[in-house]
Symmetry: C2
Subunit: 343 residues, 2 copies
């Protein structure tokens, strides 16, 4: 039998908390024998959401917390003040080793700050990147970083490239993933100061399959498996993806409802279109992992339903089984700077 | 009668040169009495493209050039070496005042470098931004900058904001245009070092309608008339727009051709969809202006057809009639630093 994994789940975060979160947790437990879950949240609503659900009760623990970090709260303040919030307590359980990973649909900012401050980094990792999987015409692409490192350094991007490559290989199962540097042109000499400095460093790495620069327009087509960028740019890419898709689909919907003829056409086209749109549905990928921490933090969508929560929890199982952090440490030749200084 | 405008047109640039460029020029001449055009290019192919076209011949001059800057050439080298290229000669005509503006479908890099080096900036303008109009669900938005300023300074973004606002008011006819700063969150304290420094400067301007930060996902919805950013980010936004739209539409097309039922549906839906997609067709906007130069440079798409070339030329007429450069100088309180130092 495989090793047990303990996942802490924030039952209070996101638009559909606690009911969809709790349902997702129950489904993950039922589907995975080696899983234990610690649900963090307010006793009454979480207990109510659990009642009536069919799941292996001996592997679920409800850890009561009395506070909730709201979406709009400034993350640093919230984490300092709300010591008994589901997010703070869950992350502390990971820090202490009582849990292996933490899943939340709550505030992204709080997840990023909490990951850094409460869970803590692997020694030698400079900054933890948030790395969502995006759909493309050609399978998913890992966009690393979309998190907090908005003024990144080249040495950080170099680590992101390696972590992203390992993640795509071990978790998504892509052999020799194509790692590309986000840039505004394909040529090596293009770009801003950061990417110009980063390009030769990535080229010199012998532990990734660096395929050079990638332009934004080639991302949705699926021209790389890992796209490396600073978090400011990553955020622009991620949200343009969502924004353009949303506007185009809603305009298309409006066109379908614009008259009888179009309506009939839409009806006939529906099954084929549904398959297409499914391919571009981010929800099937679970959540975005925050990598490089001593445990795993997965940030799932604020609007996540049970199935997405379940996938996010199962991401944690895959991460533990592949022993990703040990692979990071062995393959990335991490240097613990604090130790080196003391030696 | 209104003032005559002289537009230099690069007949050799772009995928469809010279025929579509020449056709566009002829159409612009026929439609605008006050327009004169200087076509730059190789005598024989351009002459051939002109023959048979109906246009006011007395207002078109063919200025022979013997070289062409190719798309893949490094811009700085190309401009230095190819002194008799259509792009270099055309820009020099603007610099000398023989022409008011220059339109090219050729290399963007060469247009940016040439604009700076050959045409020259308005005194007090730090850097010329390239500012394409993008379609949104709610009319066009000016994305400023998508050009060469990949490591921009806040003082440059402040100028971009003002130039963009004036352009949208005077050329596109939007009263009190909403100027937003591109950022990864709506709150003032969000962002990288550049946008954090820029936000209070934009807030303090009394000559624009600054509406705060805008996130990428709100751009396609049309939440601003002008979006201010550095060129690295602008490029990411612009090309994600193109990339996502292209992939979604091609997947949708594939769905329509996936079976008889879907095909019939697609056929019925076609007229309504066509109207929708027209709204998102960038071609109707002409080209991207490179602003802040002593003349106007318009970079139109490499794949531009005659109608787009015509619109780009007509953009120059509108720019001249609105006397945009004088408005820049008077409204932006430009300081000529070279002069100030000498005083």
């Amino acid at each position: 039998m495989s090793e047990t994994i303990n996942v802490a789940v924030d039952a209070m975060g996101g638009d559909n908390a606690p009911s969809e979160i709790v349902k997702g947790a129950a489904a993950a437990l039922a589907a995975n024998d080696n899983l234990r879950i610690t649900l963090l949240g307010s006793k009454e609503p979480v207990g109510q959401a659990l009642s009536g659900l069919d799941y292996p009760k001996e592997r679920l623990e409800l850890h009561e917390t009395t506070e909730v970090i709201e979406m709009a709260e400034p993350p640093v303040n919230a984490i300092r003040r709300k010591k008994d919030s589901s997010l703070v307590v869950g992350m502390k359980l990971v820090h202490e080793g009582a849990c292996d990973a933490f899943v939340t649909a709550g505030s992204t900012g709080a997840a990023l700050v909490g990951g850094q401050i409460l869970v803590g980094r692997i020694k030698g990792i400079e900054r933890p990147p948030l790395a969502p999987l995006l759909p493309t015409a050609n399978g998913p692409v890992l966009l690393i970083d979309c998190g907090a490192n908005v003024d990144a350094r080249s040495s950080q991007l170099v680590q992101f490239a390696q972590m992203g490559s390992i993640y795509m290989e071990k978790i998504v199962g892509i052999q020799n993933p194509r790692v590309a540097l986000f840039n505004i042109g394909a040529e090596e000499e293009k770009g801003n100061a950061l990417v110009k400095e980063t390009f030769p460093l990535l080229k010199a790495l012998d532990n990734i399959n660096f395929t050079g620069n990638i332009e934004a327009r080639d991302i949705p087509a699926g021209a790389a498996d890992v796209v490396v960028c600073d978090a400011f740019t990553g955020n622009a890419i991620l949200k343009m993806y969502e924004g353009v898709a949303k506007v185009l689909l809603s305009e298309m919907k409006a066109a379908i409802y614009s008259g009888t003829r179009a309506k009939l056409g839409g009806l006939l086209l529906k099954p084929a279109l549904k398959d297409t749109l499914k391919k571009f549905d981010v929800k099937s990928y679970g959540g975005a992992p925050l990598l490089g921490l001593t445990g795993l933090v997965v940030k799932t969508h604020g609007s996540a339903k049970a199935i997405e929560v379940q996938h996010s929890i199962e991401q944690c199982i895959a991460w533990k089984q592949a022993d990703i952090n040990s692979v990071f440490i062995s393959r990335m030749h991490l240097v613990d700077r604090t130790k080196t200084a003391a030696d």
